[in-house]
Each structure stands twice: as structure tokens, then as C-alpha cells.
């Protein structure tokens, strides 16, 4: 039913837990199933140096969140816009049709985090 990659990320999730003083936080909730993902990003010189997650949901949602924290590592914030649900699904080794929300949820939470980052940057620029 689930790929070895997915099971591996579920069994040993990477980068779990909250982050103190992050540069950006974003979360997303799936209205249908109640799954909830939250990402914390540390950004230095425009690049993600650390990403952490906390997720409530099914196995695939937890695994997708874990995988996304690895996927975003070292990328610029603008590059994160290129992370799509399809890309996450592929990297997870595929998802059953009724678990596609796992990839959508993780990407929506990352989008919320990048939006938060850009808002904060814009505010900083205004203050300067």
C-alpha cells in the first residue's frame, strides 16, 4: 500500500518538533479529514538552513511532512514555490488515491510558511 520511502519517513521522521525563534511559520489544515501540518523555517542569506515540522494526521501526512523538511533544505525561499504536490508525491514513491491529501497538505503548509517569511521581510524593509 505504501512505499518503502513513505514507511521510512513515518517510522523515523526527520526534523520533528517545534523551533524557537523561527524566521517563518506556516500551517495548513485539511478541511475534509482534519489533518494539520505546521512548518518552522530558519532562513539565512535567503536560503533555508533548517526546517522542522509538527503534524497531526495519517501516516502519509506525517511522512510527507518529514520528507518536505528534507526537500526544502538549502533552497532559496523563491525555489520553494517550485515544490508541488506532484513533486512531493513522486519523492514519497507514490500515494494511494485516497491519501493524495498528504502531499497537498504539506505543500500548502510550506506555502503558508514562505508567505509568512515574505510578509515579515516586507515589514522589515518598511521599518528600515
Amino acid at each position: 500500500m505504501y512505499s518503502e520511502t513513505l514507511i521510512d519517513h513515518f517510522r523515523v521522521p526527520r526534523n520533528v518538533g517545534m523551533m524557537r525563534h523561527p524566521d517563518a511559520v506556516g500551517e495548513s489544515e485539511d478541511g475534509n479529514c482534519g489533518d494539520l501540518a505546521r512548518f518552522y523555517l530558519r532562513v539565512e542569506g535567503g536560503k533555508v538552513t533548517e526546517a522542522r515540522f509538527q503534524t497531526y494526521g495519517c501516516g502519509p501526512s506525517i511522512a510527507a511532512s518529514s520528507l518536505v523538511t528534507e526537500l526544502v533544505q538549502g533552497r532559496t525561499v523563491d525555489e520553494l514555490d517550485g515544490v508541488t504536490p506532484d513533486a512531493v508525491e513522486d519523492a514519497l514513491g507514490g500515494l494511494p488515491p485516497d491519501r493524495r491529501h498528504a502531499a497537498t497538505l504539506a505543500v500548502a503548509a510550506i506555502r503558508a510558511a514562505t508567505a509568512h517569511y515574505r510578509r515579515r521581510r516586507a515589514e522589515e524593509v518598511r521599518r528600515v
Partner: protein, 383 residues
Amino acid sequence: MRRVYLDHNASTPVHPDVLAAMMPFFSEQYGNPSSIHSFGREARDAVEAAREEIARFLGVSAQETVFTSGGTEADNLAVKGVAWARGTGHIITSRVEHHAVLRTCQALERAGFAVTYLGVDQHGMVDPDEVRQAIRPDTILVTIMFANSEVGTIMPIDAIGRVTRERGIPLHVDGVQALGKIPFSLRGLGIDLLSCSSHKIYGPKGIGALYVRKGTKMVSIQHGGDHERRRRAGTENVPAIVGFGKAIATRARDMAEEAPRVTALRDRLWDGVRARVEDVRLNGHPTQRLPGTVNMSFRGIEAESLILALDLKGIGASAGSACTSGSLEPSYVVTAMGVPTEWALGALRCSLGRSTTAEEIDRVLEVLPAVVERIRSLSPAAA
């Protein structure tokens, strides 16, 4: 890794005696029971012996027992068979029935029948008084399950039967989860139709039966030959029928002795979980419950991740019914009982059976608390 199977409400392993009884009917006694020659007569004798076995167990006559392809077909035959014999009218059922009944009722609604879906109390019980109040002049059928597959609650069927009997309305009971697990005889109960399944009681899959009380007005929904006294067309699944008969005979022998043992293991599991895990609650009736069923909700966890984590440790449990475990909504049964969504999403069903041991329960008690703690630690609710 030694695996632990706690999903007996979904299906059970075929009992060795059942398998042995079935084997000759695949290769040696392969006749068609409708054939006149000796090959056919041997198959016919085997089918009728199995029918007798089941009828005796239920306390009914063999002529009142119709073989079907399983519980779902038995439910379809009962509900549609009675409805279409009338052509129009009102049906009373409950919100916690198996999909085989619920979706059949929904299909009949689209065909013009009226259906009342009764609610249940916090323990999953239908109130016989609500059945009485729901009866209309055009009510043609009441269909309520004997025991719920997800939470194990045993319905007050005799009280409901008194109501339907008094009003002269046929009562169909989905007996799939109760059969062979709790003692009952249809003699004296006001049941007119009872759905049965073989693979929940250590028989093969793909075979079930519908008891139809003599004189019940119904039509067949599958047309063809004269099989099953023209109530269900199609060549009989002889090996499976033989297996079903043997499974029933085995239950008749073992049930009384097994029930208290399985009940004690069930309670050992729940007491153990309750003592080791915080924020957990039991779904279902505290006592009026199937011997092997424990449904518990863990707050802050979605059951799918819990099932996956337990599976990785070799423990097979389920969320709600096996048929809906692909869906992401909280269980409609647990929701109908008024359990809040945040708890309902974390409902785990463990169903024990004849092979379950105390060692297995203790293994689950060793694994489960850590698994729950780990999944909770991943959640945004974690500190």
C-alpha cells in the same frame, strides 16, 4: 517477528476442521447439487446437511434458511426483497448499521421508499421506544443490527422484536457480528429475517445465509434457476456451504466455553490501556458488548497513523469497519454516538478471537503506549 491479529470483526482464519471438511468438495465431490445423478446427489446431501446444521443452531427449520454469497448479499436480499414485495412504503433502520443495510436503504429511497434512520445513545444503543414512535401506517420493515461491528454494542433486539411483532411489521436483523459469538435462538425472538456470514466465525469467505421466517412476504432480487426454493438463483457454492456448516457446528461446540475467556482478554486489554495511556476513552457499551470487541479513542491521534505504527510492530488492528478504513472521515458509528470529532478521529478497534492469548494482549500493552506517545509527540499539540 510474531504477529498479533486483533481484527477478527473484519475476518477470521478458517478453522482447521472447517478446511478439512471443505477439501473433498473441490476435487472429489464436485457435482452440481441440481443434477439428478449420484455426483449431484452427493453435493445436494452435503448442502442440505450444512443447512440443517445452521437451522439447528438458529432454532429454525432448514426450509427457512437461504444461502447467499455473504452477509452483504443477505442484507440486500432481506431489505430489497421485503421492500419490493410491497413496492412502496416506509422502512425504519438506524444510523449505525453496516453499509450493506445503510446503502441499500439509500438506494430504496432513490426508488421512492421512505426511510427513517434512528439515532443511538452514547453507547450505540437503539431505543425500542424510538422504534415504536417511528412506526407509521405505511411502515413495511424494521431493520436493526444485532451487534455493531465497530464498537460491539449488542442491541436490545428482543425488545425491538416485541414492538414489531405487536404491530405486525417484519423485523430484519443483521446478525453477522453476533452469530456464533453470543448465544441466542430465533425461537421466541421476534426476528423475521436474519443475515449471517461465515468468515466472521472461522468459516470461508464468500458464503452467508439469510433466515426467512415462513410466511414472510418477499421477492428474490437475483433471478435465474430454481435454486434455494427460488429465493436466490445460482449454483450453490458447495465447498463454502459445507465449510459454513462446519463452522457453525464448531461454534455450537466452542462458543459457551470461549466467550468468558475472550471477554476476560478484552477487559485485560482495555484495563491495561486505561492504566497506561492518558486521554483515552472506551467507545461502545461497557457491558452489553461482544466478547472480543474493544473500540477506544485516543485524543490527539488520527487512527490511521496508529494502525500503521502498530502494523510496523506486527499488530493488526483497525479503524472502524474494514470497508471504510480507506475513507478519511471519522467513523459514522462513533460520530452517531455523540463522540466529539477530535476523539472520533482517533478511534481504534481491536477485535479478539478464539486464538487470541494473554501473551498477545500483554505484547500489545507493551507496544501501544509507546506508539501512542510517539505519534502524539509529532503533533502540533505536542509541547
